[in-house]
Amino acid sequence: MRWTNRLSLGNLGALVILILLWAMILSGAGPEKHLSVYSVAANYSLPLVQRDGRDYVGLLEVLEPLGKVSARTDGTHWHLKYYREEDDFQVGKTRARIQGRDLELPGKFLVENNRGLVSVSSLSTLLPKILGGPVTLHEDSGRLFIGSVATHFTASLAGDNPPRLVFNFTAPVNPTVATEPGTLRMTFAREPVVSPASPTLTFGSKAIPSANYSEGNGTAVVTVHSTIPVMASFSNDGRTITIAQTSPGTPATSPAPSATTPAPGTSAASPQPPAQPAGPTPQVWRRYFAVVDASHGGDDHGETLNSSLLEKDVTVALARGLREELESRGITTLVLRDSDANLSLDQRAIFANADHAAIYIALHAASNGHGVRVYTALLPYSEDDRGPFRSWTTAQHSALALSQSAASAVAAEFQKRQIPVRTLAAPLRPLNNMTGAAIAVEVAPQGADSSQLTAPDYQQLVTSAVATAIATAHNQLGAAP
């Protein structure tokens, strides 16, 4: 009996030690894992749970903010209804029946307290079937993008002494900013900010040599490396962040942005931006009336017009000329590609759509044919939009009549100036991805000599005709703010 008592006391001691150890482990455990979901309807964050060595998330919780959804458990089956479509999951199995078709999931489907849990890795195959739209999953960093909601950014150095690093975002952002000697870190917890073409950006400056992009646990982080003390200031309604040297007496932590316009793709769940920032006077966000896109660029040369002339170079010259002509008529204009940069078609569409410009004008050049062709989108075959989602490939659908009207106005102006012109539909991206009026202008020489495309007088003739037509159609296209 004494022996038994000693053993019990020993066991009790071991138990206490185990509890203490467990508490210590828990106190030192990493932060809870999250999945950040970004969509047109809402941006939100969901906790993840670990089962069978995988990250799991509640499927109903993922879908609830996106549309009308319900679920019920029936024995070993878990039924999910999203709008009118019903899907069937089997508890403990990897096979599910989605939209009437069998689908193999990467992990077993689990039910806990009537909550249907799916592995995070399943979402990239499961959600496109349920939602009927594209879904991009950054599994390692716990970020899920539903539809084309990503916020892109560019970074460029402005000014030499002192240097300023300017970040331009396609939508307003509100990161938390932290500084420590040598670095300034911007953490985007709620914004669907995505990586630039290269995660490391170098600027050739001794003061601000580089910045890099990383992701982890549902957030995106941009870290700016500097050899001088720097601070971040916000302008352009939260779309521009400028990193500049700290003024004497200025706190190292940056002011928060002001925002008067909600960001596209953010919901009530997004943080309410604080009021007026300190520091430099914020600019008012400038919405451009026209977005002019110099097609091609970088590795994409477009047509080789002759042995020494590439389409991408002609389009940049035309774009700059058109901006000048439009702005001289009081039309605010943004040139999407003002250098020999690579810019994907999706990026072009995202920039123009995010700006809500009244008209998007893509410029092309060709050696074939004579005069000018004005194009509107030839929309691809598409099924109906599903729920709150609009098909990316036919986003132009509701604005097509306005685009055709703008194309007719541009063609009429060319006819007035006796330049041969045709209006046509064309399967030309990104016209079909635009949510506002969108046209493309393809400029060919009037004769057989393609070098006319670089002649300043011919370029001016073309750009002034387009600008005059846009100015004439200004009211129809919608007044710029």
Binding site: R373, P380, P427, L428, R429
Partner: protein, 197 residues
């Protein structure tokens, strides 16, 4: 002592071997000196046998950027899919001609056409078709409209058309015309009307 007839047979064989060697050496020299005939990469002509039919091909013209109907009498098989393939091969034989109003690059070929119910046609062209295609919005659009309108006008029931290159999806034909998605035949028919001379 070797029998005499064996010596004679051996001598005859040696002479034959020597003669054959000289002949083979000459042949090799002749072959090396003859220039290799250029490979005709054009698609095979439609089979000459079998009943012919009058069909309408929609031929692109670069001069005025138009799509013109051209009647052609070509042998047509009975299978719906094979008929679509023959139509496009007849169309391509026009484009591969030196005097074509819309020249395609050497070696351009339609590999096959798949008709998938309900109302889906998939046109699979070879890599040379896209790789040698001239770049430009109109010139690429003319090719795409010509292929799709020719197939859909002669094959009732097609609602949408997909173009593949060597069996794979591509973003554009030659930098401009988007071929990543399905074409809506109704929209292409309207485009053909716009492109009519």
């Amino acid at each position: 002592m070797i029998p005499r007839h064996l010596l004679i047979a051996l001598a005859v064989l040696l002479v034959a071997v020597l003669g054959m060697s000289i002949y083979a050496w000459n042949m090799r020299k002749t072959v090396a000196a003859t220039p290799a005939a250029s490979v005709d990469t054009r698609p095979l002509a439609p089979p000459v046998a079998g009943p012919t039919e009058m069909v309408a091909l929609f031929v692109a013209n670069d001069e005025d950027g138009s799509l013109r109907p051209r009647a052609a009498q070509i042998p047509m098989p009975s299978g719906r899919q094979q008929r679509a393939e023959e139509l496009l091969r007849a169309l391509l034989s026009i484009y591969l001609d030196k005097a074509s109003p819309h020249v395609l690059g050497a070696g351009a070929e339609v590999r096959s056409v798949f008709l998938v119910d309900p109302g889906v046609a998939v046109i699979d062209v070879n890599a040379a078709f896209a790789d040698t295609h001239r770049s430009g919005v109109l010139v690429e659009e003319l090719t795409v409209a010509s292929l799709i309108h020719t197939v859909s006008a002669n094959t009732p029931g097609i609602l949408r058309v997909k173009i593949l290159v060597d069996g794979k999806e591509r973003d554009t034909l030659a930098g401009h015309a988007d071929i990543s998605d399905f074409y809506d035949v109704t929209a292409v028919n309207q485009l053909a009307t716009q492109l009519a001379p």
